[in-house]
């Protein structure tokens, strides 16, 4: 399906945002779902690339879907050069997203992990449900949408590896301290929603276990098809293998085995 770019902007050095006109015939994405995009004819790169849906807005009856990405390879480099009016070949939405049924939701993001979490903040803002956001990144330029999250009613805390923005250190340490300050009763109502590098997600799982709070994470293994055809994006769960594209990409932390890479 060819979609039209409605707006394109650079957020920071490496990070970009695209807004797409979402066709009326396509299912509207749910928070945590992803799309598969390609930018080139030919066979290099061979696969489409999965991108988490960053935001969905309704503008004068039309659906506008945003994608946030970091330039890491040929496809994202091509994406960063797209201008309004250009077409993007996209399939989706795919996968199972976040379940938003807790008393309060805390978003925990590492770098581009903010991509699918921002849409959650949008939904929570609509329903008026409480939301906090913990943003981590290597450096200030990797902290994204901080002010926009605040505008959506999120209380935002930031940590960077180099201390160039927020606290110096790990985002999961901020999270751990914030949870420690809560009463046990309030903690029981918290749901963590994490997205970021594997090591960060593993730390989120550890904090969740230590503090006795529920958590869902969005994972990002290599995917060829995104639709259950290739059986390549397998993740380990205590009950056996699961496909990230179909059973996920969002999983309850207890449904993933954290020992394996």
């Amino acid at each position: 399906m060819l979609l039209t770019i409605r707006a394109a902007r650079r957020l920071t050095e490496d990070f970009h945002l695209l807004e797409l006109d979402w066709p009326a015939g396509m299912a509207e994405p749910l928070p945590g779902q992803f799309v598969m995009v390609r930018t080139r004819e030919g066979t290099d790169p061979l696969w489409r690339r999965p991108l988490g849906v960053h935001d969905v807005r309704h503008v004068k009856g039309a659906v506008v879907v945003s994608l946030l990405f970091q330039v890491v390879g040929p496809t994202t480099r091509d994406l960063s050069g797209l201008a309004p009016g250009a077409a993007l070949d996209l399939l989706g939405p795919h996968g199972r997203g976040f379940k938003l049924d807790a008393a309060e939701h805390w978003l925990v993001s590492g770098g581009r992990g903010i991509a699918p979490l921002f849409y959650v903040a949008r939904i929570l803002n609509r329903t008026g449900a409480p939301c906090r956001a913990f943003l981590g990144g290597r450096t200030a330029g990797h902290i994204l949408r901080e002010r926009d999250l605040a505008r959506l009613g999120c209380r935002v805390e930031v940590a960077t590896d180099d201390g160039s923005r927020g606290r110096r250190g790990l985002v999961t340490d901020l999270l751990d301290r914030a949870l420690a300050r809560l009463s046990a009763r309030r903690r029981a109502g918290v749901m963590l929603l994490g997205c970021g590098p594997h090591g960060m997600l593993k730390a989120v799982a550890a904090v969740a276990a230590a503090k006795g709070v529920a958590a869902q994470v969005s994972v990002d293994p290599l995917m060829a098809c995104g639709r259950g055809l290739c059986l390549g994006c397998t993740v380990q769960s205590p009950g056996g293998y699961r496909l990230a594209c179909q059973h996920g990409p969002v999983f309850n932390v207890h449904d993933l085995s954290w020992g394996a890479r």
Binding site: T43, C225, L229, G232
Partner: protein, 304 residues
């Protein structure tokens, strides 16, 4: 005048020569959103074993130049679940179904073939003796002409269905295993399965795949596949189904001209799940442009 796309593979008559390859289209039902699967020549479902198989540990795939490596390990739901949950739907849709199957030993192959014989809605069998990922059976059978003969003969004795045998390219001379399969009673040969390959993550110095070695597919292997189709065509009269890196109608035509009676689209389904519709249309357009009445006029038409 519309060109005639019908092809015959032994007793199996197909409305056109385009199939979807095993392991790249699920159990066929997954492709329904992308086109009318009854309009395909046939759909070759994910390789089935007697019992469900969980497949190999991750990571299972990695992208390579114009290709990909996989070590899925033949993950599948097992014969019983396929017959109960998938086949009735495929039958209702009117799809021509070729069941790919594999075993760990000759008795497994025989039992699978016997249980699929005469099942309504199964139009043919494709015997996988070429998967490089399963330690028992698999590649060991597929690389030795004598073993190929024994295994195919065992299956031949257990089924009256048209029997395709999918061969591994990981041999010195594909004609030897091809001849063994043909002499043992195969009705057609599917050429080729994946080429063994390997990729390394240089930063971590770890293999890209958990199983280290995997099977290479995609356009990177197409010239190898076309060469093997042509070689076997020269040596044997048995129908060949060409498979390996077909991305466009032009690629499919290459296989037909080299001697394939039909083709299978595989890896392309991951990126372009509706590409078979374009390939079919492209073959038809080619026949019109070259004023050919039948696609069979093209098979083996290489001017060498």
């Amino acid at each position: 005048m519309t060109p005639d796309l019908k092809v015959g593979i032994g007793a199996l008559e197909l409305p056109n020569p385009v199939m979807l390859a095993s392991g790249t289209c699920g159990y066929g039902l997954e492709m329904i959103p992308h086109g009318d699967i009854a309009a395909l020549g046939a759909v070759v479902v994910k390789g089935l074993s007697l019992r469900p198989s969980p497949g190999n540990p991750p990571p299972r795939i990695v992208e390579t130049p114009s290709g990909m490596l996989n070590s899925i390990g033949l993950e599948n739901i097992g014969l019983d679940a396929f017959l109960a949950d998938k086949l009735p739907k495929l039958r209702r849709l009117g799809a021509r179904v070729i069941v790919n199957f594999y075993g760990g030993c000759r008795d497994d192959y025989r039992e699978l073939a016997a249980r699929l014989d005469g099942v309504e809605g199964v139009h043919a069998l494709e015997m996988n003796i070429s998967c490089p990922n399963v330690e028992r059976g698999g590649v060991l059978i597929g690389q030795e002409p004598e073993e190929v003969h024994k295994a195919v003969a065992a299956v031949r004795g257990a089924t009256r269905l048209p029997l395709l045998v999918k061969l591994t390219p990981n041999v010195t001379d594909i004609r030897l295993t091809a001849r063994a399969a043909a002499e043992a009673g195969a009705d057609a040969l599917t050429l080729i399965n994946t080429l063994q390959g390997m990729a390394v993550d240089v930063e971590s110095r770890r293999p890209a795949l958990a199983r280290i070695v995997g099977g290479l597919s995609g356009p990177a292997i197409r010239p190898v596949a076309v060469r093997m189709v042509w070689q076997v065509r020269q040596a044997l009269a048995i129908p060949i189904i060409g498979c390996g890196g077909i991305w466009t109608a032009r690629d499919a035509l290459e296989f037909l001209i080299a001697g394939a009676t039909a083709v299978q689209l595989g890896t392309v389904n991951f990126t372009h799940p509706d590409r078979w519709v374009d390939v079919l249309a492209g073959i038809e357009a080619y026949l019109l442009r070259h004023k050919l009445e039948r696609v069979t006029d093209l098979i083996g038409a290489l001017e060498a």
